[in-house]
Structure formats: C-alpha cells, structure tokens
Amino acid sequence: MRKIFALVCVAIALCTYTSCKSKNNDPKPGIETPAKSQLGTASTTDYIITLYADTPLLFTGYNRLYVKVQDATGAVSSTANVSIHPLMEMSTMSHSTPYEQVSYDAATGLYSGAAVFIMPTADDDAWKMEVTVNGQKVAIPVTVGTFPTKVISISMGSDNTTYIVSLLRPATWKVGMNDVEFTVHKITDMMNFPALDNLTIEMTPEMPSMGHGSPNNISPVSTGKGHYKGKVNYTMTGDWRLHLKVSDASGTVLLQDAFIDILF
C-alpha cells in the first residue's frame, strides 16, 4: 500500500516537475531557484516540515536533501536548530546510512544536507527521514529506488573495513571534460558511518564495451567532509566505468577497484 502511495507521489511529482519545466520557458529575473521535488511533509506542534530532493525519486547512492521549516503562520524559519537522521526499519533491526547533516543555506532558504543510501526500499524494509526542529521530531517516509547504473560501491577493504564510495551525480554529463565528485565513508556500526578524508584515489575511466580509456583525467583529491573532487573525461557517449583505487595516507591500498558505472 505504501509502495503504491509512493509511486503515486512520484508520478504526481514527475508531472509537476515537467509542467514546471515547461512553464519555466519564460525568462524570469531574480535568483536562480533550481526546481526541487517535494518528498513529503509533516507537522509538529510549532512547525511545518517539508523534505525536498533534486529529483522526485531518491536513489541508492548520494542524494542531496533539503528541509524547509515553516512556522504555523507559514513563515519560513532560518534560525531553527534542524537536524536529519535517515533510518531504515527492517523487520528485525534498524540501521542508518551515511549522511551529511543539514545546515541553513540563505540562497535557497532551505536547510540542505545529503544522504548516501546504501540500499533501496524493499518490501518490508522502508526508509524514513527523521527531521528534528528545535527538539521536535517528525519522521517522513521516503522511497529509495535503485539507480540504473552502479553509482555506489560498497566493498570490504584490505583492512577488513567496509567502505562506501559514492558518486555525486551531476545534473547532466557532457562529452569531454566533466567535474566529478565522490564521497567515501566507512561502516563503524549500524548507526555510524564516518566520512573519510585524506585518502588517495586513483581514477581510471574505461569503456567496458571497447576496453579503452580516456586521457587527461584528474584523479579526485580530498576536499574535506569525505568529499573528493576531480575531473573525468568522456571522449564519447555510452557506457563508462570509473575504476577507483583507494589508498590510505600511508600508501596502503584499501580498495583495489571500487568502480562506478556511468551511462549517458
């Protein structure tokens, strides 16, 4: 039942998204507000809390999330103490996933953060996003689908730790040089997934159906908060695989090939 509801939500969201897009043809002055999709809303005694994402559906891997906080009169709050916590409740246990705590962004008027979903919503396993505003907590159910290509790599490292490498999906890829960004986390326990900085990532793109790569790639380097930024070169459209070799600061190879797949 919940699944059907979620699908309907997605369908409605898609419709509004596309219709918004078609209306957006008129050039509008002012600040750019990228279209965001509402995932759900809930109310506490004092606040109306709405959760947004860049796309109508969340996917396994890295997703940016936005929280809008309004008081009872509908006025947008920018000073509340807001936090999120993703949680999956399974029949026997529950666990979280790597996430980035929200902070207020004046440009959009939203509290923005992110979550790296390590698995999709399944029959009895549902994701929800707990949002706490000034101590008042709500839980907004969210549906996480599987992204068509492998944009997250979860694998056991040489030190017997499980690492999570996730791609930040850009709005669009283009032929030629693209900015590319990843996050790296490790699993400490079911609720703790610390972000890892100062690793060395060696990135090698390949087209698996042809076996060739591309020149002039810049391997991602640590930019803090578990993020790594580099440049990837797609010489053509099609299937690409980004091979990522991850080493720690001492040079020990943790992951031989945490690969990410791209199709555009």
Binding site: V175, G211, H212, N233, T235, T237, G238
Partner: protein, 679 residues
C-alpha cells in the same frame, strides 16, 4: 615544346597566344590515333605541369573511360596512395594531404572522409575535365598557400560558336578483371551566343583479381557522375557560365581498410562571369561563386563478423562555399595576374558504435571544424629580352579555424584547455626563371618559400585511425605552420626527334608535421597499437629528381620514358613515410595511319628507405609489369568510331606499389576493350 623554342624569330607571337591560357604549353608533334579536331573539347584531357616546359597530350577518347586515378598515376612525380580499387589519393613527389592543394576548376573542396577515402580527385572524371594542371612548387598554378604545390582539375565548358550545333561522344568499355564496365556519354549544343553541354559516366566493378588468381574481397565499386555546363554570351567578350557536377558512388569496397563505403556523394556548383576584353591591357577577368557539399558514409555491414568487433556507422560531411575573382593583364613584357579568393569550409564527422548488450556509443571524430580563408595572389611573368623569363609570385592567406558547435567544443575539452580558435597568416613567395640558351638548350629553375597552416585534421582530429601505422591520431591545436624552402633546377634539350628533360628538386621543411607517439593515451580503435598526436618536428628534407625523355627514331614511332624518385628524411635522419621510390614508365608507340599500337613497362624499385619504428612503414619489393594496347579508328560518315583493346599486366604479376596501404596486390592480368563514337 612550343614553336617558340624551335624558332626564336616567332617566339613572341605564339607565346603571347599561349600565355592567355596561362600555362607553358607544348604539344607533341606525334600523330594522335583518334584526336578528332572538331570534337576536341569533348574528347581530350591534357595535363600541364607548371614551370616545366612541356605538356603531354593524352588525347584519346578511350582515356576518358579510365578513372582519374589512372590518368594521374602516369604523370611524372605523381604517385597514388591506394586503399582499394577506387578513389586513390594523389601525392606529388611524396607530398600529400594538406601539403598539396587540390581544386576543381579553382574551387576549394575537402573530402568528407576522416580516413582519406575520398580525395577530391575521386569526385571528378576525365570526361568532366579539360585539363589537369599541376604545380610542384608552392607558387604554381595553384592559388592557395601550400608547401608542395597542387593539382587543379579544370572543367570542360560548353563552347559557343562551334560549327556543329550538336556534337557528342558515346563510349563503352569492358574489363575482364573485376568485370568492370564503363559507359560514358557527352553531348554539346552550341549556338553563337549560347551553349550547353552535358557529360556523364557510369562505372561499376566487382572484386578484382590480383596476380596469380587471388581475388581481393571488398574491392567493388559503383559510381555515376554527371557534369553540366552552360555558357551565355552577354556580349562577345562577356560570358556567364554555370557549371554543375554531381558524383555519386555506392557500395565501394576498401580492402585495405577496416570499413567500406555505403555512399560518397558530391554536389559541386558554380556560377562565373568572365570578361575578356580585346585591345586592352586587361586580358581577362573572371569571377566565380561556388558551393559544394560532400556527404560520405562508411559502412562495415558487408564485412564478416570476425572483422567487425563492434558494428559502427561513420558518416561525415564537408561543405565549402567560396568565391574568387582573378584578372590577368598583359603589357609590354609583363604578364600579370592578381586574384582575390575567400572560402569557408565546414567539416563534420561522427561515429556511432553499437556494442552487443550495451548502450550505443556516439562521438565526433572531426568535431565540427570550420575554416575560413581569405587570400590574395599576385604573379608576374616578365620577359627579359629573348632569352630570359622571370616569374615572381606572392600569396598571402589569412586562415581562421574554429569549432562551430557546442558538442564539438565539449569533445575537444577532452584534449585541450583554452581557446580552440586559430588564426594564421600564411605567406608564400617564389621566383621562377627560364633561360633559353640556344635553340636546343634551355635551363629552368625556381626558388620559393611555402607555408601552410595545419589542416583541420592535424589541429582537431579526435582519435582518427590510420591503417598504415595502426595508430589512432589526435590533433594538436598548438601546431605551428609548416614551412618549406624549395628549389628546383632543370634543363631541357630539344631537337627534331629527341627531347630530354632532367630536373632535380629539394624541399627543406621547417616545423614539419608528423604523428608522434603519445604515451599514457589509450586507443579508441580496437586493436590499434597506440595513440599518436600531430607534432611539429624541427625540420625535414625531401629531395629527388625526374627525368622525362621522348625519342622518335622514325616517323610513326615514338618512345617515351618517365622516371622519378623522391627521398625524404626527418630531422633525426629517419626516412619519411609514403615516399615513392624510383619509378620508371617506358613506352613505345607505333602509329601507322588509322592504327595505334603501344607497349609499355612500369617499374618501381624496392623501397627500403623506411622507418618502421617511427612511422610504422614496411619495406616494399620492386616490380615491373607490362601493358600492351592496340586501337583503330573507323570513319563512318562524319563520325569516328574508335576501337581499342589493351592487356594490362600481361604477365599476371603479383605486385603493389610502395604507397599502397597494407600492400594489397594490385590487379593482375586485365583485358580491356573500349569503344567510342564521336559525332
């Protein structure tokens, strides 16, 4: 040899007349088996080599049934790069591609194929042409900056005021090898102020058989070609001319390459205004606007599966629009020529690959390159006394190159950072000199400086596969101009029965452009050995010579020998690739009245001046083949029927030339029969 050389007293008048054609001119006094004067314009193709005081007059209607390639490869200094039985690529003394300029009737055209499958000589047929003009130096007949001269295919135009209102030609040919057929026709309608002519060719061939019965798969071709020309005289000395040429090839095999061609189409149109005043210093003023569009598609669907790891489509287009305006003056002892030219060319080539069980892949291989060129040419020919002729010339080109689509720019962001636009000012200058020593001896020489901007492919190629060295090539937007200083010196001895003309040449290049292995780049083409990028090497040297001789031991007997050799070295002393070794064509003709017989040998020496490691070239063995032919003219009323039979490669030798890609054997024994009727 012009009559001028025979007899100094009459020098001025014939030279004057001949210079109006702007080409040094010489006609062999030999009798032509089938040159019929009244239909001269319909049945002849001449070629002229600039700066060389002779012209060979291959004026047989059966030659019109041959391909342009076969005509070209008989010219001394011209060697063809062969990738199949169709569309061979001309080289001049070992210089090719962007180092030489190829034009059709002064119009710039650029092949649309990234694998050099469609040199523009493949879009013009002998039946369309009036003359092939050749220049080996940057300041020859060619009106564009180059380092090595070029070729112009001058189109046949409709002639007004011909005695016969209707005249024409039909012909058919059959060759046993490849079961090739050629059908040609030409028709002209001529009135005093208006004339229109049309000519057409239809050719088809199956797979040819190399020597010793080896069938070469994927060597078939099919093509047709149509030329139209209309002339209207506004006044006796002012004419409007419209020319249109359409050439379409289908299902063309390229056995030396990994792909064939499903179609190669060219549409070439122009309109000209020509003013030829009399009694003025201005002799002619011609202005032309033109447009051409070439559409080319490579195809691998006919190849067996083991040859096609991934099916792909590789279409390409090339379009050029341009204009030129050239004027010629003659005063006292000066013959002056000036020209303004401008053109813009757009090249697009793409590739879509269809892997099994995966998404299709798309890329640009020539990422939408636009090139605009403005040029000025100035040339003077000065007659100093009776003995000296000096021809200084100057060409200045302004060349702008850029990428005209966003996708093209994004594609090249893979290779380059910064602006992709290029602007070059390119200049050529030269001096030709001829000295008549006495009635029999003449010296001629030239010294010139040539330059060219790097070609669209050299600047912006995006993983273009070169079958010769098995490397993928990428462009280099920072290439400098390639320049050459070249000199040649020749002499000519001429008497009644004997003509000997040796010539030596040397080109010293700076910033010579070659492909150099680029480490750390993975190949795009499955099975390629690596990636090369075009780079400037500091210098290169090309030298060699040609010897042309004719002898008429008795009347009706004629012996001709054409010999050439080139040697090319890069700055490190490595032999340059695609340089023809010594080649000799020797021919004996016997022409009693209406008959004509000939026998000839074509020899090439082995080429072991190669650099396999640097340029991926392999050594070639030498060969000699023999051809014989016989023809006869029948006069039927006012019409002439020419019947001609020939056997090429009579010993069925397995052979290839050094410039043949993959060294596939050329056709074995081939019996050809040609019929043509001129009316």
């Amino acid at each position: 040899m012009p009559p001028a050389v025979h007899n100094k007293k009459h020098m001025r008048i014939p030279l004057y007349a001949l210079l109006l054609c702007s080409v040094p001119f010489m006609v062999h006094a030999q009798s032509e088996t089938d040159s019929v004067h009244h239909s001269y314009t319909l049945s002849t193709v001449n070629y002229t080599i600039l700066g060389q005081r002779y012209q060979k007059n291959y004026t047989r209607s059966r030659e019109l049934q041959q391909s342009t390639d076969r005509l070209l490869e008989r010219i001394p200094g011209v060697t063809m790069i062969r990738r199949g039985n169709f569309a061979m690529e001309p080289t001049l003394r070992g210089l090719s591609a962007a180092q030489i300029n190829m034009t059709i009737d002064g119009m710039q055209l650029f092949g649309a194929c990234t694998d050099r499958m469609d040199p523009i000589s493949s879009y013009v047929e002998p039946n369309n042409m009036e003359r092939i003009q050749l220049g080996f130096s940057p300041n020859g007949e060619q009106h564009n900056a180059s380092v090595g001269g070029g070729l112009n295919f001058s189109l046949k135009q409709a002639q007004t005021g011909v005695a016969k209102v209707w005249s024409g030609l039909v012909g058919a040919g059959y060759e046993t090898n490849a079961t090739a057929t050629q059908t040609i026709a030409a028709l002209q309608y001529s009135r005093s102020r208006f004339a229109i002519s049309a000519n057409g060719v239809w050719r088809r061939a199956g797979n040819y058989t190399a020597g010793k019965g080896q069938e070469i798969a994927f060597s078939q071709y099919n093509k047709w070609n149509l030329g139209l020309s209309a002339v209207y005289l506004l006044k006796p000395n002012q004419q409007l001319r419209v020319d249109y040429l359409q050439d379409e090839g289908y299902n063309i095999g390229y056995p030396a390459l990994t792909m064939d061609v499903s179609f190669a189409k060219a549409k070439i149109g122009s309109a000209s205004y020509i003013y030829t005043p009399t009694g003025m210093k201005l002799k002619s003023w011609e202005s032309k606007v033109y447009y051409n569009y070439i559409d080319h598609a490579m195809d691998d669907t006919k190849r067996p599966a083991w040859q096609v790891p991934i099916h792909m489509d590789m279409p390409g287009t090339s379009q050029t629009m341009g204009l030129y305006s050239r004027a010629k003056w003659y005063y006292t002892n000066h013959f002056l020529e000036a020209q303004f030219t401008a053109y813009s060319n757009r090249l697009h080539a793409e590739m879509t690959m269809y892997p099994k069980n995966a998404a299709e892949m798309f890329m640009l291989t020539l990422p939408d390159v636009q090139r605009t060129v403005y040029g000025i040419d100035l040339k003077d020919k000065i007659y100093l006394g009776q003995d000296w002729t000096l021809s200084p010339s100057l060409t200045v080109n302004y060349v702008q190159s850029d990428i005209y689509t966003e996708l093209g720019k994004e594609t090249l962001s893979s290779l380059f950072t910064g602006s992709l636009d290029r602007k070059n000012l390119v200049w050529n200058a030269g001096l030709n000199a001829e000295k008549q020593i006495n009635g029999r001896w003449m010296l001629f020489g030239q010294l010139s400086r040539g330059a060219r901007s790097a070609s669209a492919q050299e600047l912006y190629a995006f993983y273009l596969f070169n079958r010769m060295d098995n490397f993928d090539y990428i462009g280099n937007k920072d290439l400098k101009q390639e320049t050459s200083v070249n000199a040649s010196l020749g002499m000519s001895y001429h008497q009644h029965r004997l003509h000997i003309q040796p010539q030596l040449f040397v080109y010293r290049f700076s910033n010579y452009i070659v492909g150099q292995r680029k480490q750390g780049y993975s190949t795009m083409t499955i099975g390629a050995s690596g990636v090369k990028q075009y780079v400037n090497i500091p210098d290169a040297l090309l030298y060699g010579g040609e010897l042309y001789a004719t002898y008429r031991p008795w009347d009706k007997w004629y012996i001709q020998s054409t010999n050439s050799i080139s040697i090319g070295l890069d700055n490190a002393g490595n032999a340059l690739p695609l340089i023809p070794p010594f080649k000799s064509i020797n021919r004996i003709e016997y022409t009693p009245s209406k008959y004509g017989f000939y026998a000839e040998s074509i020899s090439q020496s082995r080429q072991d001046r190669i650099s396999t490691v640097v340029y991926g070239e392999r050594a070639s063995i030498g060969f000699t083949i023999f051809n014989v032919g016989a023809g006869r003219n029948f006069t039927i009323g006012k019409n002439t029927l020419n019947v001609h039979a020939a056997v090429y490669n009579i010993l069925d030798k397995q052979y290839y030339e050094h410039l043949d890609i993959l060294k596939l054997y050329r056709p074995g024994r081939n019996v050809a029969l040609n019929l043509s009727l001129t009316f």
